[in-house]
C-alpha cells in the first residue's frame, strides 16, 4: 500500500469513527445520565437522513436543511422524552429494551408511510463537491473532510458544554447523584429532557451529514445501531471520552479490515470487542 492509499484509508477510518462517535455519544449519555437503554437510537439516524433528503429539496441547500433539521430534531427529542421516555427512567432495563424495540417498528412504519420504501440520493452541495488530488489518479473528496470537520466541531462543543458550563456541571451532578442534585434545587427533569434532546439531535445531525455519501434507504438505522452498541461497550457505558476513543478504534479496525482481510472484515470489530471485554469487562473508560 503506497502512501496516498494509506492516507485515504486513514482519513476514511477517522471519518467513519467520528460519525460513529456522534451516534454513540448520545447513546452513552442517555444511558449514563438517565439509565435508559435506547434501541431506537438508530431510528434517529435514519430520521436525520430522510430529513436531509426532504429539507434539502425544500430549501435547495443542504446547509439550511441541516440547521432546520437540527432544530426539528431537538423539538422531536423533547416531545418524545416528555411523552414516553420520562416514564421509563426508573423501570427495568428489560422494559426499556422492549419499549424502544417497539418504537423501532413504529418509526420504521411511519417512515414508510411518509417517504415510501425507495432509495433516495441527496446531492452534495456545489461548494463541497470538489476533490483534492493526491496522485495522478487518486483524489480525496472534500465532502468527507467536511463531514469529519462537522463531527469534530460538535465533539469539541459537547466537551465544552459538559466540562466547562454551568449546565454541564448540573448534568454531571445529576449523573452522579440524582436525589442529592434534586434536593439542591436543580430541576433534574429539565436536565434530563435537555440531555435526551441533545442525544437525539446528535444522532439526527449524523444522519443528515452522512446522507449524501451513504444515500437514504429503509432500515438504515439498524446496522449503525449495532456498531454504536459495540462502540459504547468498548468505551465503557456512560463515558463520552471512552466513546470517542472506541469509535476511532472501531473506525480504524473496520476500514483497514475491509482492505487487508476482506473475508473476515465483518467479524473483526466484534473480535476487538471480545478482546476488550476479556481484558476489561466494563469497557476501557468505565466511570
Amino acid at each position: 500500500m503506497d502512501f496516498a492509499n494509506l492516507l485515504i484509508q486513514i482519513l476514511n477510518s477517522v471519518q467513519y469513527g467520528l460519525l460513529l462517535f456522534m451516534l454513540a455519544a448520545g447513546l452513552t449519555l442517555i444511558f449514563g445520565i438517565m439509565g435508559v437503554v435506547n434501541l431506537a437510537h438508530g431510528s434517529f439516524y435514519m430520521l436525520g437522513a430522510y430529513l436531509a433528503y426532504s429539507l434539502s429539496g425544500l430549501f435547495g441547500s443542504l446547509t439550511l436543511a441541516i440547521l432546520g433539521g437540527a432544530a426539528l430534531s431537538v423539538l422531536f427529542g423533547l416531545l418524545l422524552e416528555r411523552l414516553l421516555f420520562r416514564h421509563f427512567y426508573q423501570r427495568d432495563h428489560l422494559d426499556q429494551v422492549l419499549l424502544t424495540f417497539g418504537l423501532i417498528y413504529i418509526f420504521e412504519e411511519l417512515r414508510s408511510m411518509l417517504w415510501g420504501d425507495d432509495v433516495h440520493g441527496v446531492p452534495i452541495p456545489d461548494f463541497l463537491s470538489a476533490s483534492i488530488p493526491l496522485t495522478d489518479n487518486l483524489s480525496y473528496p472534500v465532502y468527507r473532510l467536511f463531514m469529519s470537520g462537522v463531527c469534530i466541531v460538535l465533539a469539541i462543543g459537547l466537551y465544552l458544554l459538559i466540562s466547562k458550563t454551568r449546565l454541564g456541571m448540573k448534568i454531571r451532578a445529576g449523573a452522579f447523584n440524582r436525589d442529592m442534585t434534586e434536593s439542591l434545587g436543580i430541576n433534574i427533569k429539565l436536565i434530563h429532557a435537555i440531555v435526551f434532546a441533545i442525544g437525539v439531535a446528535l444522532a439526527t445531525v449524523a444522519g443528515m451529514v452522512a446522507a449524501p455519501i451513504s444515500s437514504v434507504y429503509p432500515n438504515m438505522g439498524s446496522q449503525v445501531l449495532i456498531m454504536c452498541f459495540v462502540v459504547v461497550v468498548i468505551g465503557g457505558i456512560g463515558s463520552v471520552r471512552g466513546a470517542l476513543i472506541a469509535a476511532l478504534l472501531v473506525g480504524l479496525v473496520d476500514t483497514f479490515g475491509k482492505v487487508l482481510l476482506p473475508q473476515v472484515s465483518g467479524m473483526l470489530v466484534y473480535v476487538l470487542m471480545a478482546a476488550v471485554l476479556l481484558w476489561k469487562p466494563e469497557g476501557l473508560f468505565k466511570q
Binding site: H93, D95, G102, L103, Y105, E108, E109, V233, Y270
Partner: protein, 332 residues
C-alpha cells in the same frame, strides 16, 4: 435485574387449570384444524420451545439476552448443511448434532458474555449474535443473504415427518418434554441457585456459589434448547436464512417471554402462541379504503409491544391470575 415479585414461579390452581385445558386443545387440534392451521400451530409450538429456552435466562436467572436467536438459527443451518440435495438424513444423529452445535456456540460466547452484567449483558449478547449474523450474511459459502433450502425433512425411520400431523405431534412431544424438563430444573438445587442469582448475585457469591459456572451452564443449556427449536423450524419450513438469527428474532423472543409472564416456562409458551397469532392477525388486516392496514403491520406490532410494556408488565398469565383472583374474592 428483574425484581423477584415480577416472577410467578409456582403456578396457582386457576392458571394450572387454564393450562391443562390448553394442553387438551393442543392434543385434539390436528383433528379439527385445517392443514394451514395445523402448520401454524406447529410453528407456534416451535417458538414456544424457543421462548422457554430464553425464559431460563431471562425469567429464571435474570439475564436478558438480546442475541438468543443466534443459537436458534445456527441449529437450523446445521440441518441445512448436513441435508444432501437429493435425499433425507436421519433425525437420530442430526438432531443431537444441531443441538450440540448450538450449545457449543453458546458455551464459547457465554464464556465472554456472562462476565458482564445488566445493560452490558444486553448489548454484548446482541453484538455477538450480530457477529454470527454477518458471518452467514456475508459468506456465499454459508448461504449468504438468500439462505439455504432444506429439501427433505429428516428421516426418523419409525415415523414419517413428511406427514404434517406426525410432525405436529413430534413437535408437541418436544414441547412437552422441554417443559417438563425445565419445570423439574426450576425446582432442583441448580434451578434454585439460578433464581438466587437473579435475586441477588452478590449474596450468592458470599454464600460460596461459583456464580460464573452457574450462569455459563444456564447460558449453554438455553442455547442448546434454542437449537432444538431452530432445528425443528428448519425442518418444518424447509428453509433457513440469516433473518432467523437476526436482531428482530431475538427481540421477538424477549417479547414472547414478557407477554406470557416470566420465570415459569408456561408463560413463555402462552406468550409465543399469542405473539405469533397477533403477528399473523395484523399482517392479515383488511384495507380500509385506500389505506392498506395490513401492509403497515409494523406500526400495529410496534403499538402492541409498547402497549404491553406499559399496561401488562407481568404478562398475560399475571393478568389471568389477577382476574381470576378478583372473581374468587379478595385473595390478594
Amino acid at each position: 435485574m428483574s425484581s423477584p415479585k415480577a416472577n410467578l414461579e409456582a403456578l396457582p390452581r386457576s392458571v394450572q387449570f387454564v393450562l391443562a385445558l390448553g394442553a387438551v386443545a393442543l392434543l385434539a387440534f390436528p383433528f379439527v384444524g385445517t392443514d394451514f392451521y395445523t402448520q401454524m400451530v406447529t410453528r407456534m409450538m416451535i417458538l414456544g420451545i424457543f421462548a422457554m429456552s430464553l425464559d431460563l435466562l431471562q425469567g429464571v436467572t435474570g439475564l436478558v439476552s438480546l442475541g438468543h436467536a443466534a443459537y436458534f438459527g445456527l441449529a437450523g443451518y446445521v440441518l441445512a448443511f448436513v441435508t444432501p440435495q437429493g435425499e433425507a438424513v436421519s433425525l437420530w444423529w442430526t438432531l443431537p448434532a444441531a443441538v450440540l452445535a448450538s450449545g457449543l456456540a453458546a458455551l464459547v460466547i457465554g464464556f465472554f458474555v456472562v462476565r458482564t452484567h445488566g445493560i452490558y449483558f444486553i448489548m454484548v449478547t446482541m453484538a455477538f449474535a450480530q457477529m454470527i449474523f454477518y458471518l452467514f450474511f456475508d459468506n456465499k459459502a454459508l448461504g449468504g443473504s438468500d439462505g439455504l433450502y432444506i429439501n427433505f425433512k429428516p428421516d426418523a425411520t419409525v415415523f414419517d415427518l413428511e406427514n404434517k400431523r406426525v410432525f405436529y405431534y413430534f413437535t408437541l412431544a418436544c414441547l412437552a418434554g422441554v417443559y417438563a424438563f425445565l419445570r423439574r430444573l426450576l425446582w432442583s438445587p441448580f434451578g434454585r441457585a439460578l433464581a438466587g442469582i437473579r435475586v441477588n448475585e452478590h449474596r450468592m457469591r458470599a454464600m460460596g456459589f461459583g456464580t460464573f459456572g452457574y450462569k455459563l451452564t444456564a447460558f449453554t443449556l438455553a442455547g442448546a434448547l434454542a437449537g432444538l427449536a431452530g432445528y425443528l423450524w428448519g425442518a418444518q419450513t424447509g428453509f433457513v436464512n440469516p433473518e432467523l438469527m437476526g436482531f428482530h428474532m431475538s427481540a421477538h423472543a424477549i417479547m414472547m417471554v414478557i407477554l406470557g409472564g416470566m420465570g415459569n416456562f408456561a408463560g413463555a409458551i402462552v406468550g409465543a402462541f399469542t405473539f405469533e397469532y397477533v403477528l399473523h392477525a395484523v399482517k392479515d388486516l383488511p384495507a380500509i379504503g385506500a389505506f392498506n392496514t395490513g401492509k403497515h403491520w409494523q406500526l400495529w406490532m410496534g403499538l402492541f409491544i409498547v402497549g404491553v410494556v406499559v399496561l401488562a408488565p407481568r404478562g398475560l398469565l399475571g393478568l389471568v391470575e389477577r382476574f381470576l383472583n378478583r372473581k374468587e374474592g379478595r385473595d390478594e
